[in-house]
């Protein structure tokens, strides 16, 4: 307790850059502005608007959630084996392989997305190869698949890393014990390795799902703006419609949804590993 003042800078940081902004977003969300009458009043019009406008925002929200869900699922199925092999004894000596997973993260994600754009365009690298081989040109850019690809490409490391860490930390003797007791490799995996790596999986899922559900630049650049996500709608409210109040209401709604899903995941996590301390 004596050293609690060490947390001072962090507390200040939190107040300035987390609490204040959230309070402001909340205030914006529950006020309605009328420029012509130059008036400002409290009201829930912005909140109800989220569910109005012919269900437009719900449709966009549903698209964001399904895309994020697909992205998370694919990342999990690609990322788990990857993390598994990287953490295994045989691969442990190949440190470069691990660095290769991290390498893309050293570059700015916007830069990587622009590079992907050059890859997928009509006269891009992939299509140049495809057409020079005598095949029909592929429609890649501006499709839903392109958006999904961009999300997976960007967020896969966030799935691999936590799973890798939890597998690395695992007590090898537990596996040996299972093997000694006669469990075949498949059984060892399902009964021992997988359950013990659940914390890694859960943080992997959160770290991939959260940014995917709120992403906006990827859908714009790779989806050519054809697949508007909730992040794009929020951006448009601030940058185009000049309607900060509705933008804030949407942001707040998103935050609430994310909090809810973290809560659900935590419950799942706690159920599986009751001895582990709370993650969030």
């Amino acid at each position: 307790m004596k050293r609690s003042y060490f947390s001072g800078p962090y507390a200040l940081w939190m107040i300035l850059f987390t609490i204040f902004p959230i309070v402001f977003v909340g205030l914006y969300a529950i006020t309605v502005r009328n420029e012509t009458a130059n008036s400002l009043y409290a009201g829930l019009k912005n909140i109800s608007e989220i569910f109005a406008n012919k269900g437009t925002y719900m449709k966009v929200l549903w698209r964001s959630i399904t895309l994020a869900f697909e992205c998370t699922l694919i990342c999990l199925f690609l990322g788990y084996p990857c993390a598994y092999f990287l953490a295994s004894k045989e691969f442990a000596k190949y440190k470069t392989l691990f660095v290769l997973i991290l390498l893309p993260m050293w570059m700015n994600f916007l830069l990587r997305t622009y590079a992907s754009m050059g890859l997928l365009e009509r006269n891009g690298i992939i299509n140049t190869i495809v057409t020079s081989l005598g095949f029909e040109r592929l429609d890649l850019i501006g499709t839903r698949g392109a958006v999904l690809y961009g999300m997976i490409y960007n967020y896969l490391p966030f799935m691999v890393l936590p799973i890798h860490t939890s597998l690395k930390k695992m007590d090898r003797r537990v596996i040996e014990a299972a093997q000694d007791l006669g469990a075949n490799p498949l059984r060892v995996f399902y009964k021992v390795t997988l359950p013990l790596s659940v914390p890694g999986i859960i943080s992997g899922i959160t770290m991939v799902f959260m940014p995917s559900v709120t992403t906006f630049a990827i859908s714009g650049l790779l989806g050519s703006g054809n697949f508007m996500l909730i992040g794009d709608v929020i951006e448009a409210q601030f940058m185009q419609a000049n309607n900060w109040n509705f933008g804030s209401a949407l942001s707040l709604f998103m935050t609430a949804l994310i909090l809810l899903s973290i809560g659900l995941l935590n419950r799942l996590d706690a159920g599986k590993n009751s001895e582990r301390s709370e993650k969030w």
Binding site: T36, N53, T56, K59, M117, I141, M228, A236, A241
Partner: protein, 343 residues
């Protein structure tokens, strides 16, 4: 005593710069040939502090919240309208700006956001239209109709900008570009939704479109003349062309204004006059390549440039182009419908 006066003279000489006038100029990013600023200082002894913004709204916020003191700002037409309404601009004394008075094109004096240029002096201007790839379109493009031709599959780029896109389509349908009428806007919405459903649109983008058009990614794109000029400059094969459709379009002006709270009014006027001098306007034109409002620059255009409506819109084109007005919070319907189109 003599020594002291020499010393004093020396000090005054050394610190002379600090005594001379100094002005702060606030312009959009990459929107001037910066060597012009040095020449201004050389000729007048007035120092220039040059500050840049990326968006008009950013500048407006800076001005209204008192975030900074500026002597010259470069707002667009609808922001000028808002600033005049707010009473934030000083009138321009044209007696002190002979270059502006004499060199501005006649067509630059009767804009409806500031008729007679009482508060603003045009700097650069342009239109909106269609940039098309002559090798990818079947015929010459002259109408907005082409944007709805189902023969073009995923071959058209629309602008991800609700005001511009819906305004242009209002003109296409024969309505007022600044309409807030629900039925008219709904008609625009249905038109654009149908266009999307017919799979004509390849995407809704802003900044990326010009490079995509240079790369031959689509047959047509809705664009600002300035961006179109940029693309045509990069296009080595000369396949890109720009047109202002016959149904009409938008015309925009970026101008120079002096905020009321400027303490260097006279120096600011000198700067505006300097910018309207033919040789200086020419250098800015060569650098930015937007349409210049200075008559001498227009006269100097090469034959090829003079024929290009992106840098030299004809009087006839201007007659069917309209300014956007500041709609403030009447944009709600635009927003609702635009979101329906895009979702």
């Amino acid at each position: 005593m003599k020594k002291l006066s020499i010393l004093l003279a020396l000090i005054m000489l050394l610190t002379g710069v600090a005594y001379a006038d100094s002005i702060t100029v606030y312009n959009s990013y990459d929107y001037i040939d910066e060597s012009v600023l040095d020449d201004f200082t050389k000729e007048t002894g007035i120092e220039v502090e040059y500050v840049m913004f990326t968006r008009q709204e950013e500048m407006y916020t800076q001005l209204t919240t008192g975030g900074g003191k500026y002597d010259i700002i470069f707002p667009s037409d609808y922001i000028i309208e808002r600033l005049i309404k707010d009473g934030m601009l000083s009138e321009i004394d044209y007696e002190q700006c002979p270059n502006a008075k004499e060199n501005l094109l006649d067509s630059m004096w009767n804009s409806d956001y500031d008729s007679g240029n009482v508060y603003s002096v045009p700097y650069m201007w342009g239109t909106m239209g269609i940039l098309y790839n002559t090798e990818l379109v079947k015929d010459e493009i002259y109408s907005w109709d082409s944007l709805f031709d189902p023969a073009y599959k995923r071959d058209v780029f629309m602008l991800d900008s609700m005001r511009d896109m819906m305004g242009l389509m209002l003109v296409y349908l024969g309505y007022d570009i600044n309409s807030t009428n629900e039925d008219e806007l709904a008609e625009v919405r249905d038109l654009l939704i149908e266009q999307k459903q017919n799979n004509i649109v390849q995407g809704y983008l802003v900044d990326e479109v010009k490079d995509k058009m240079v790369g031959g990614e689509a047959a047509m794109a809705v664009m600002w003349s300035g961006d179109a000029m940029y693309a045509m400059d990069l296009d080595e094969d000369g396949v890109l062309a720009y047109t202002v459709p016959e149904e009409g379009s938008n015309v925009w002006i970026d101008a120079m204004c002096i905020p009321k709270n400027s303490e260097n009014y006279e120096a600011a006027l000198k700067f505006i006059d300097f910018m309207c001098r033919p040789d200086i306007a020419q250098r800015n034109y060569d650098y930015i390549h937007y349409a210049s409002p200075i008559a001498q620059v227009v006269e100097e255009l090469s034959e090829e440039e003079a024929e290009n409506v992106a840098v030299n819109p004809t009087e006839e084109i201007l007659e069917r182009c309209y300014f956007f007005h500041d709609l403030m919070d009447q944009m709600e319907l635009y927003n609702e419908y635009w979101m329906q189109i895009r979702s």
